[in-house]
Amino acid sequence: MPLNIRTYHDLTEPDRSGLPGQIAAQRRRVAARLAGVGRVVAVMSGKGGVGKSFATAGLGRALALAGRTTGVLDADFNGPTIPALLHIPVARCALRNDAIEPAVSSDGVRCFSMALLLQDGRPLGFRGPEAESHVWRETLEAATLREFLADVAWGTLDRLLVDLPPGIQRFQELVDLLPAPPAVLTVTIPTAESRDAVRRAMQFAQERGAQLLGVVENMVDGPFAGDAGEALAGEFRVPLLARIPWHPSPDVWDGVARRMQRAS
């Protein structure tokens, strides 16, 4: 005879573990920390090697030099490069009450990155059972993103740029964590292969309610042929914010920053 038992949602008694409550508290912590941030902008691409971090750093520096308080969260935990691109030396992270102080570049960009925490040349390693580590590793990286958002003293910012690794997984985690979907700046190179991969990422972002701010086409007039930037901008009806040449001048990012500000 089957047991007539109540199921999970039938139970209403107080629960000391309160796991859903712990998750909710984590989300509140993120929201509270980012309350002073005007806008979170995810820099993404469905393609690797197109210069997302290069664009993020250049844009962050240009925004800061234009008087906008700017932060950069390096969400590429396995290949962090933002501190190097912002010329931030690795130094001890300072604690202030309930948060870690971000590193600050000479241009005034606040930054936090896994590169500030890892031993030189060592990959990101997590404690845990080696077998089937794919089951828990992505969850741990999502927790890392949550703590980088919630536990760094970002303060008041006009823009927090989030430099995402290739693909869409980290973007989904960001959407899950933020109170509202971030705006998205997309980076591509001119080729048709990049266009196709970036199209998927832009579609993914749009379906999750993100505002697409525009496309930056990188590595133009170099060895890569194509019109991916223009094609994607036309297809998604967003501005082509810039076509960055193979050897850009430092001030190229000023124009991108201005156009991105107008788009948002």
Binding site: R92, P129, R146
Partner: protein
């Protein structure tokens, strides 16, 4: 995850957690009506999944430390990544020699945070000295796997 005493139709209440240090976790839940207890035993994979979410079965009584999951889980962190290696444990709290020796075996990447957590635990309970026994209690009560 919840446990129901089917005979009493009462939700069982979390009572105790043990972390034997081999990656597994044991938690006891008791029926508030008949007093029957059951044990939840998780294997290292299951323990890791829960820890990866940054939550603790049985809850916790102290506020999370900044980057608590990151610092508790990363194995390739720089020894000098954080400037909190010698954080003041707080007024009125001292460390026994044995506890200090045990703390010294914790990787520097996470040591300052662990020290702060144990100090907060002791302060919350009105303890004036942190000993290995206090550290063991804190590990179980706060779910500090690997600390």
């Amino acid at each position: 995850m919840k446990f129901l005493c089917v005979e009493c139709d009462r939700q069982m209440v979390f009572e105790e957690r043990q972390l034997p240090g081999d990656g597994t976790l044991a938690a006891a839940f008791r029926c508030p009506q008949c007093g029957r207890a059951v044990g939840l035993l998780t294997n290292p994979m299951e323990t890791q999944l829960v820890a990866s979410l940054g939550v603790k079965i049985g809850g916790t009584t102290i506020e999370p430390q900044p980057l608590e999951t990151v610092r508790g889980m990363i194995t390739t962190g720089r020894d000098d990544a954080f400037a909190d290696g010698t954080r003041d444990p707080g007024p009125g709290i001292r460390w026994s020699t044995a506890a200090e020796e045990r703390l010294a075996r914790v990787p520097n990447f996470v040591r300052g945070m662990v020290k702060k957590i144990y100090a907060d635990y002791a302060k919350e309970r009105g303890l004036v000295e942190i000993t290995p026994a206090v550290m063991d209690s804190a590990r179980s009560e706060l779910g500090l796997e690997g600390m």
